[in-house]
């Protein structure tokens, strides 16, 4: 645990302990291990997870950290450092086979955003896609309809709402996708590279909204990004990953970014 975590004692919303994830870097071995493990599971057994087999590597290696109320965290690291893997494990998309991910009892809803525009269908209209995306995020029809005005006004794409989304620009798709995400009241939000292709005015609007919703209301936001200058103003914590290990965690975000870029 880092010094900043020891001195401050707000409520822990998320506690990650001894988390590991291994992958295989060779395609043939990946197929072989996959089939072997599947057959092992089929017979009700569990393949060992403590050691590496040939051509395997630790994508995450003994990850430990806490996320507190009001944390807005930059998850930094070069490509392949383990940011997306960690975010997918926190969101429950990848299985936790070694280590634990624990949430505070008061956490009722978690939203994770990967590749913000994915999940849109190009032949459906913007309006139809709002329903589809909202359904993917676990919203009901009633909740989606209640959020519709917010989504339309926040995304500022009202004139194009009934146009097939295949005709939208990348920026318009990002606006719509982000408006849908922000319309959902979640206790913890994970964003993995969410703001690419959107203009700076819209980004600023999103960051202001995120700060109000997650920092001021004592929730938590974790953003995996390389665009530090954009989020520096609202982030209050930084976690740096390298080769699947946490190499730095700090609350001095400006200094953390400086150190990260220098190294």
């Amino acid at each position: 645990m880092s010094t900043d975590e020891a001195t401050l004692e707000p409520t822990v919303l998320l506690k990650v302990t001894g988390l590991y994830k291994k992958f295989c870097k060779d395609l043939t071995y990946n197929m072989y291990y996959g089939i072997k493990d599947l057959i092992t599971y089929f017979f009700g057994l569990k393949p060992g997870y403590s050691s590496l087999r040939k051509k395997e590597f630790w994508a995450l290696n003994d990850i430990n950290f806490n996320i507190y109320e009001g944390d807005i965290v930059i998850l930094a690291g070069v490509n392949g450092s383990g940011k997306t893997t960690l975010t997918r494990m926190l969101a429950g998309i990848y299985e936790t086979e070694r280590g634990t991910i624990e949430y505070h009892k008061k956490i009722k809803k978690i939203i994770s955003v990967f590749a913000i525009k994915s999940g849109f269908n190009s032949i459906l209209t913007g309006r139809e896609n709002i329903y589809l995306k909202a359904a993917y995020y676990g919203m009901s029809r009633k909740e989606t309809e209640a959020n519709m005005n917010f989504i339309i006004s926040f995304s500022e794409i009202a004139p194009y709402l009934d146009t097939p989304i295949g005709k939208y620009s990348s920026g318009m798709k990002t606006r719509l996708a982000m408006a849908i995400v922000l319309s959902i009241k979640s206790d913890i939000l994970f964003i993995d590279e969410g703001f690419s292709f959107s203009d700076s005015k819209f980004k600023a609007k999103c960051y202001a909204f995120l700060k109000e919703e997650y920092y001021n209301k004592g929730k938590a936001l974790i953003i995996a990004t390389h665009r530090f200058e954009e989020i520096n103003d609202i982030a209050n914590r930084m976690i740096v990953l390298e080769n699947g290990n946490i190499i730095n965690t700090t609350r001095d975000v400006t200094q953390g970014i400086r150190d990260y870029l220098a190294n």
């Binding site: 822990v12 990946n30 089929f42 994770s112 990967f114 032949i123 993917y136």
Partner: protein, 265 residues
């Protein structure tokens, strides 16, 4: 603190299912000039092939109570339900792979969606077949109303084989090639374009031990004369494939995350 287990909100599952069905059905409709008319046109092409083979003397379908055209039209439509459900379930990681990598969706809803879409795509041409049968004077047994129940095990069998194939195919494509061709072979080894009474040595044995014989012949016989084909064996087959489907669905659900993270999708 609680160990985290994400559960998709119960009240949202119905909404998700509706959206997925709409997406799958609308996508086909919107991307084609003829749209769902293809559901009626495609069986005609299949029938022409079999009629040609029978006319050329290549195929001896055995003794039947209705015209061969009507028989093969009904049978190939029933087979299409099995094959389409197999194909859709075996391709879940291809169809939904990217979506599943970015959203934690309930897999059983996706499987259920594939069953419903398969059923809708079956019943549209099936209704036209019924109309055609009545038009050419083939009377249908009143038990036609329980036909969907008798047909269900066939669809579940297609789904079970598809789910198992889908899991292994996501890891290695060899399983797709193997199973697709194996299933196509079974079109000829099952009484689809001929009756189960056909007697040609080895084929007789294959037909006897092939569960598809009972799963296809029973709904067909029920429709035409109100009886199941070999009722006891048909019931045992139906029970076995239902249990197999439930077990494989559970296995598929449990292993989805493991398959996704191997990035074989």
């Amino acid at each position: 603190m609680d160990n985290y287990t994400y559960t998709f909100p119960k009240q949202s599952k119905k909404f998700l299912l509706q959206e997925l069905i709409k997406l799958r059905l609308l996508a086909d409709l919107k991307r084609s000039f003829l749209g769902w008319l293809w559901l009626l046109i495609l069986p005609v092409f299949a029938i022409l092939t079999w009629i040609f083979m029978k006319g050329a003397g290549i195929l001896e379908p055995g003794k039947m109570e209705i015209p061969y055209t009507a028989f093969v039209l009904l049978s190939t439509t029933i087979w299409a339900l099995f094959f389409d459900t197999y194909k859709n379930c075996s391709q879940i990681f291809i169809t939904y792979g990217k979506t599943l990598l970015v959203n934690k969706l309930p897999i059983n809803i996706i499987i259920f969606n594939e069953l419903i879409v398969g059923a809708v795509k079956f019943f549209i041409p099936f209704i036209f077949i019924i109309i055609y049968f009545l038009y050419i004077g083939i009377s249908l047994h009143p038990f036609v109303f329980i036909f969907p129940i008798v047909l269900l095990p066939l669809q579940l069998f297609g789904a079970a084989v598809g789910l198992l194939t889908g899991l292994f195919s996501a890891l290695a494509k060899d399983f797709t090639f193997l199973m697709d061709n194996f299933i196509k072979l079974f079109l000829l080894l099952s009484p689809v374009v001929y009756t189960p009474e056909v007697s040609t040595g080895l084929l007789t044995k294959v037909i006897k031990y092939n569960p598809l014989t009972y799963l296809i012949s029973s709904p067909r016989n029920l429709l035409l004369n109100g009886e199941l084909y070999q009722p006891m064996i048909s019931l045992i087959c139906a029970l076995c494939v239902t249990i197999l489907f439930m077990l494989l669905t559970r296995f598929f659900v449990i292993n989805t995350a493991r398959i996704l993270e191997r990035e074989g999708v």
